[in-house]
Amino acid sequence: MSAIAIIGKPNSGKSLLFNKMTGLSQKVANFPGVTVEVKEGKYGEHTLIDLPGIYTFNALTQDEEVAVKKFFDHLATHKVGAVLCVLDSTSLKASLRLGLEVQMAAAKEKVPVIFALNMMDVLEDNQLRMDVDGLAKELRAPVIPISAKTGNGIEPLKHILENSQNLKPIDFSEINFELRAAEIQKSFGVNADVLIKKQTRLDQILLSNIYGGFFFVVIMLVLFQAIFTWAVPFMDLVEWLIEVIGMKAASYLPKGWLQDFVIEAIFGGLGSFLVFVPQIFFLTFIVGLLEDSGYLARAAIICHKPLKFFGLSGKSFIPLLSGHACAIPAIYASRVVESPKRRLLTVLAIPLMGCSARLPVYTLLIAAFIPAYSFLGGLIGLQGIIFFSLYFLGIIVALIVSGVLSKTLYKTKNDSPFILELPPYRLPHWRPLLKRSLNSCHQFIQKAGLVIFCVTIIVWTLGYFPNGSGHLESSWLAIMGRFIEPVMTPLGLDWKYGIAVLSSFVAREVFVGTLGTLFGIEAIGDDISNLASQIQNSGLTLGSGMALLVFYVIALQCVSTLVIIRRELNSTKTAISLFFSYGALAYFLAWCVKLLIP
């Protein structure tokens, strides 16, 4: 059976429909340009190809270029046997402007087009009706009313798709797409003024000169407080579970190196990293909530002018915010930035956003150095404020770096203006949002878990032998650590922190696992508060702790991010330069902090 290509304008619900039909969980959100890659999935015997959204075949952004090229390649090579064009029933004219172009391109290759008229639930909720049969006759193609959100109409759509080989391609002569779309909208479309009124009512507040900035700051503060303060009970639960399982497992093992390995390496290293999974969940959930509600597009407008001053764009805000979860999808998301110069600067700024891999490091060092004072009945905590400040520092450094680069190295690059379609406000789709959040936790464990496990075993073995538990100072690791100690001494750090920093160049979160293993060899401690106390007792000063935090805010310690930057920018030189530049800047600023704080 041949494939079916799904095409439509941005934010018309293609990916949600794709997920509903294939059972996959491709990212969906309520702003234009979420799908930046071509995705394929199986539905029965069919292969569905989800293309990034386009307005017309005149591509302006990189993701649009990918979509247009793939669409025409698939048509020309007859890889697709049918095209499923998703129309937004609340914005019929704009959808049809593309739909008619698609119909003409497909007709030339004798490929049938099926229209899925999405968001019918929104029309029903607002008592709006549409003549679907009349529209189908006018378009000379099947038009199936659906709601990708509720699932209504998907079964009839599947039935039509399964029999798509029986559809006859139509003849299509040259027309003015804009005029023809306007005619059809006039005859069959709904008056969407009622929907626009609802949208503008909320925009009066959220884009207001007075309240717009205030709500923006409040929403961002809530995001960071949720990660640090509200996730704590769940982190405690995970910590308790690890402790119970660890004690149970150790009781079955004979005393000796194997028991030491399980307690120190597995539960001391890997276990201390798992504690942070609830924070990853909260971060992804709240970012997803903002995306699905339609607020992110408003945030992009609010941020545009300030970001433009630093050579970025309002559209950079979305990948930059996603970068707080993980830099890799954020770098892909930067494809929505039309301007090549601003896109390049966005990619360079993303590694400075406080990604989830930094969370364990921040949490551990904050727990070690910052007292747990709280205000407003425990709703706001001092540790949460410091946490927010670290993220804020990353943002400030990113803006300065972009500003300097845009006015020096990349001064002559071409620029494109800011044009953004504003999506309507919508209630989030809870199930996909929960699925996405759980999926990000799973990916976090899967991606970092193996690396941490391997590094933990190496560190534990080198630290345990030749003299066994309690003799870390005379271990092989200590010999190696003292070799690199001179580099760490200016920051007030001893060889143990040197080893932890060095091992975290594979991935940042390895830092916590390595320290957990190192301190575990000295004294059993498998939870975060224990590890934080051990850091305090190790003689690390406040200045050195803050220097370490500043180092982790800036240093680019993620091999995967470097690989993606190299691939997206097609430049090994840029990726390597970025690694060394951010490393040197991180070390220099950490050294300054050590000098300033005793």
């Binding site: 307005y55 017309t56 005149n58 302006l60 914005s91 004219k93 704009a94 402007r97 804009e178 306007a182 909208q185 626009i196 949208q199 503008t200 925009d203 009066q204 884009l207 207001s208 000169n209 717009g212 900035g213 597009a297 992009a300 407008i301 609010i302 941020c303 545009h304 002018k305 300030p306 433009k308 309002g314 494109s416 203006p417 800011f418 044009i419 953004l420 379609e421 504003l422």
Partner: protein, 75 residues
């Protein structure tokens, strides 16, 4: 008079585009900012940032440089 000069809730009819790169004008036309189209300015935004406009295709946010390309006749 261009689209940037429109007051909040004021409408105008697009007359032409001021000189600019073809790609930007083409993108604006693809989004429904065509000659004869009626557009309304729905909202100014904080920090004198991009403004929100409505046309028959939907609601769009345009920054100053773009809005100034669209010559309008106030209705």
């Amino acid at each position: 008079m261009n689209a940037w000069n429109l007051q909040q809730n004021q409408s105008g009819k697009i007359i032409c585009f001021n000189e600019s790169t073809k790609a930007i004008v083409k993108r604006l036309e693809d989004l429904g900012f065509t000659q004869g189209e009626i557009i309304s300015c729905l909202k100014y935004s904080p920090f004198n940032g991009p403004r929100v406009y409505k046309n028959s295709h939907g609601i769009f946010s345009l920054e100053e440089e773009v809005a100034k390309l669209i010559e309008v006749q106030i209705l």
